[in-house]
C-alpha cells in the first residue's frame, strides 16, 4: 500500500458522487477510479472494459466488470439504471461519441465525462509554431499510435451540450494536479463535467 496525493480528477469525481450510489464506469480501464469510489463512497460499481488484461486487473481489485465494447451500446440497460455513468478518459476514444453519450445519458441519471482538452495552450503552440500534432501530458500519444479518436476542446464540449440540450451541472478543470478557474479552454489540460439530460437548476 502506498500513499500518494489523490489525483485531482478523482477528487472532483469523488466530491460529486453521492455515497452508496450506483455507478457504471464505461471504459473503466484497470478499475482504479471505480475501486476508489467503492472504498470512499461505498458505491455499487459496475465497469465495462474492452481490454482483457485491464479486466483481470479490475477483478483483482474486487470489481464487477463486463468485457464489452462500449461502442456497441448499452441497449441491455433500461433508462436510468444507474445514478451515475462515468466516461472518464474514454469519451474521446469511442467511435460513436454521439451515440455513446446519448446512451450514457439515458442509462444514467447523471453522467460524468472527463477528457483531455485539445485547446490547451501547449497543444496550440505545438500546432501553431511547430505545425505538428501536439504531444502533451494529457495527450501523450504520437499521432500514429493513439487510442484517441476525437480531439475536442472544453469549448467544443460546452457548445455540444448546449446544442443537444444537455445540462452541465458542474464542471472542473485542471492542469498537472492544479485546479484551473480562469480561461479553462486555454489553461486546463483536462476537463471534467457532470451532465444530465434533464432540466435542473444548478446550485
Amino acid at each position: 500500500m502506498q500513499s500518494e496525493p489523490l489525483p485531482l480528477e478523482y477528487k472532483a469525481i469523488l466530491e460529486w458522487v453521492k455515497r452508496g450510489a450506483s455507478v457504471l464506469d464505461l471504459g473503466c480501464g484497470n478499475g482504479e477510479l471505480l475501486a476508489f469510489l467503492v472504498r470512499e463512497k461505498s458505491v455499487q460499481a459496475q465497469g465495462i472494459e474492452i481490454d482483457e488484461q485491464a479486466i483481470c486487473q479490475c477483478v483483482a481489485r474486487g470489481l464487477s466488470v463486463f468485457h464489452e465494447d462500449i461502442d456497441h451500446g448499452l441497449s441491455d440497460y433500461s433508462d436510468q439504471s444507474f445514478d451515475y455513468v462515468i466516461l472518464n478518459q474514454s469519451f474521446q476514444q469511442v467511435k460513436n461519441a454521439d451515440i455513446v453519450l446519448a446512451e450514457a445519458l439515458r442509462v444514467g441519471r447523471e453522467v460524468i465525462v472527463g477528457f483531455p482538452n485539445f485547446a490547451h495552450y501547449l497543444a496550440r503552440f505545438q500546432i501553431f509554431f511547430k505545425g505538428k500534432t501536439p504531444v502533451t501530458p494529457s495527450l501523450p500519444y504520437a499521432w500514429h499510435d493513439t487510442p484517441n479518436l476525437h480531439f475536442l476542446s472544453i469549448s467544443d464540449f460546452i457548445e455540444y451540450c448546449h446544442k443537444r440540450n444537455i445540462v452541465i451541472k458542474k464542471s472542473f478543470f485542471l492542469k498537472e494536479n492544479r485546479t484551473i478557474k480562469l480561461y479553462p479552454n486555454l489553461l486546463s489540460e483536462i476537463g471534467i463535467f457532470l451532465i444530465s439530460s434533464e432540466e435542473r437548476t444548478e446550485f
Binding site: 489525483p7 478523482y10 476508489f36 483481470c56 477483478v59 483483482a60 463486463f66 468485457h67
Partner: protein, 419 residues
C-alpha cells in the same frame, strides 16, 4: 497491490492434452506435483431408497440413488466455505489429486489444490458424478433393483435439473446450508445456471464457464450424430448390451465427433498440422496425425465410458433450457448470488455470444456479474487448458465473495491516497 503474473506471456507450462489421456478433453498432467491435494478416494452417498424415491422432472420416480463424490480441503466451523465443482459431459467426481496407483490426477487438478484457483487451503471443495453417469453415481449401467439387471434403457429420462437436484441432496447430506460457490464449464456451466435459478438461496456465487443457457440447433446436431453413431452400432442392441459386446465403435465415433467440436481450427493445425505419419488406419486414411488422435481418443473413451450414459447425458444437455421457455431474465429475477461468466474467443461450440445472452439477463435483473471473454486458441477445450487466466479471474472472484461473506478472505489492495 496484487501482482498480475498472468500478464506475462503465456507459458508452456500448460501441457498439451495427452494422446494417452483417459480423462475429459485435454486432461492435464500436474507438472508441479507439489501443490496437489494428494492421494484421495471417492466417497459414496446413498439416498432415495423406496418408498422415498426421487421424483424426476418427468414425474418418474427413481431410487435408490448412489452419488459418487470427492471432497478436498476442510469445511470450516461455520460450514460456509464449500464450493461445488460441476463436471462436463464425460467428467466424474475425481476432479483433483490422485487415486492410489494412478499416474494422472483428476480432471481439473490444475484448478483445484493448495494455492490454486479453488484453493483447498481456504475452501472445501466437493465434486460429484452426475446422475445418469457411469463413474459411481446411479445411471443406466447401474443395477435396477426391480430386475436385478443393469437398467439399460429402463433407466428413466433425466435432465440437468435432476442432476442438480441430486447434488442438492448431497449438499444437504453434508449439512451445508449455503454453498460459497458452484463452478463448472460446458455441461458444468449449465448445472451452475440450474443451481442459480432452481436454488438461488442456496449459493453465494456461481462461476459459469463456456456454456449456454440453451443448446442451439448446431449443438444439438453434433450430439445427435454421436447418438446415431452409438445406436447404429449392432452391439448397442437397443441399449441392452451389458454382459455382451459393447457398442464400442459407435461410442468411439461419437467421441471423435465430440473432440472435433472441442478444438479450434488453430489448435488442430498447431497440434497435427506439421507432419504425416507413415502408418494408415484404413485404406482411405491419409495417415494424418489428426486421424490417429481422434481414433485413439475414441478408443480410449470406450474403455471408461458407458454408451448409454452418453445417450442419456447428451439428451439432458440438449434438452436443457435455463429459462424454462420464458425469457432468461425472468428466471434470473431475485438472484442475489454474484456471478462470474467466462467464455473463450476460439470456442465455436459454445460461442461467446451464448455467454453474452447469460450476461444480458444478469444485466437486466441487476445481478452482480463479471464477464470476460478470454483470448484463447484452444477452442472449447480452453476451459480445461487456459489455466492461468482462469485461475486469476476465479481466484479474485472467490476472494471477493469470501471477503463479503466473512470466509477466510482478505480485503483488496486499493491504492492508498492521502485525501
Amino acid at each position: 497491490m496484487p501482482v498480475l503474473n498472468l500478464l506475462a506471456k503465456k507459458t508452456n507450462r500448460i501441457t498439451q492434452p495427452s494422446n494417452k489421456g483417459v480423462g475429459t478433453p485435454g486432461q492435464l498432467i500436474d507438472s508441479e506435483g507439489s501443490n496437489s491435494v494428494g492421494i484421495g478416494k471417492t466417497n459414496y452417498f446413498h439416498f432415495a431408497s423406496p418408498p422415498n424415491e426421487l421424483t424426476l422432472e418427468t414425474g418418474e420416480r427413481l431410487g435408490p440413488i448412489t452419488v459418487a463424490y470427492e471432497i478436498y480441503g476442510r469445511l470450516n466451523d461455520q460450514r460456509s466455505n464449500a464450493i461445488l465443482i460441476l463436471h462436463a459431459l464425460s467428467g466424474d467426481a475425481h476432479a483433483a489429486g490422485f487415486h492410489k496407483g494412478d499416474e494422472k490426477p483428476g480432471w481439473w487438478d490444475d484448478m483445484i489444490g493448495p494455492g490454486k484457483a479453488f484453493d483447498t487451503n481456504k475452501f472445501f471443495i466437493i465434486c460429484s458424478n452426475v446422475l445418469g453417469g457411469c463413474k459411481g453415481t446411479t445411471g443406466p449401467s447401474s443395477i435396477n433393483p426391480s430386475t436385478g439387471e443393469k437398467y439399460g434403457l429402463d433407466f428413466p429420462i433425466i435432465s440437468i435439473s435432476d442432476m442438480v437436484n441430486v447434488q442438492k441432496h448431497l449438499v444437504d447430506h453434508l449439512k451445508i446450508d449455503q454453498l460459497l460457490s458452484v463452478a463448472g464449464g460446458s455441461m458444468g456451466g449449465m448445472q451452475a445456471l440450474e443451481w442459480l435459478t432452481a436454488y438461488p438461496e442456496r449459493l453465494k456465487s456461481a462461476i459459469v464457464i463456456a456454456t449456454a443457457a440453451k443448446h442451439s440447433p448446431q449443438q444439438i446436431a453434433f450430439h445427435e450424430v454421436g447418438r446415431r453413431a452409438i445406436m447404429a452400432d449392432p452391439h448397442w442392441k437397443d441399449g441392452y448390451y451389458y454382459g455382451g459386446q459393447l457398442p464400442a465403435k459407435g461410442l468411439a465415433v461419437a467421441r471423435m465427433i465430440g473432440h472435433i467440436t472441442y478444438m479450434s481450427e488453430i489448435s488442430m493445425a498447431e497440434k497435427f498440422g506439421k507432419h504425416l505419419r507413415n502408418e494408415k488406419l484404413h485404406q482411405f486414411s491419409v495417415g494424418s496425425e489428426v486421424e490417429h488422435y481422434l481414433y485413439n481418443r475414441g478408443n480410449h473413451f470406450v474403455k471408461r465410458f458407458d454408451a448409454n450414459s452418453y445417450l442419456y447425458i447428451t439428451r439432458a444437455i440438449d434438452f436443457f433450457d435455463a429459462s424454462r421457455g420464458r425469457e432468461l431474465y425472468e428466471v434470473f429475477k431475485g438472484i442475489k448470488a454474484k456471478v462470474l461468466v467466462l467464455a473463450f474467443k476460439s470456442d465455436w461450440l459454445y460461442p461467446a455470444s451464448q455467454s453474452k445472452e447469460i450476461v444480458k439477463a444478469c444485466k437486466l435483473t441487476g445481478v452482480d456479474t463479471t464477464y470476460c471473454e478470454i483470448d484463447s486458441t484452444y477452442g472449447h477445450d480452453a476451459f480445461l487448458l487456459e489455466v492461468e487466466e482462469e485461475t486469476h479471474l476465479v481466484k479474485y472472484f472467490l476472494q471477493k465473495v469470501s471477503f463479503e461473506n466473512g470466509v477466510a478472505g482478505e480485503e483488496y489492495g486499493v491504492m492508498e491516497y492521502a485525501i
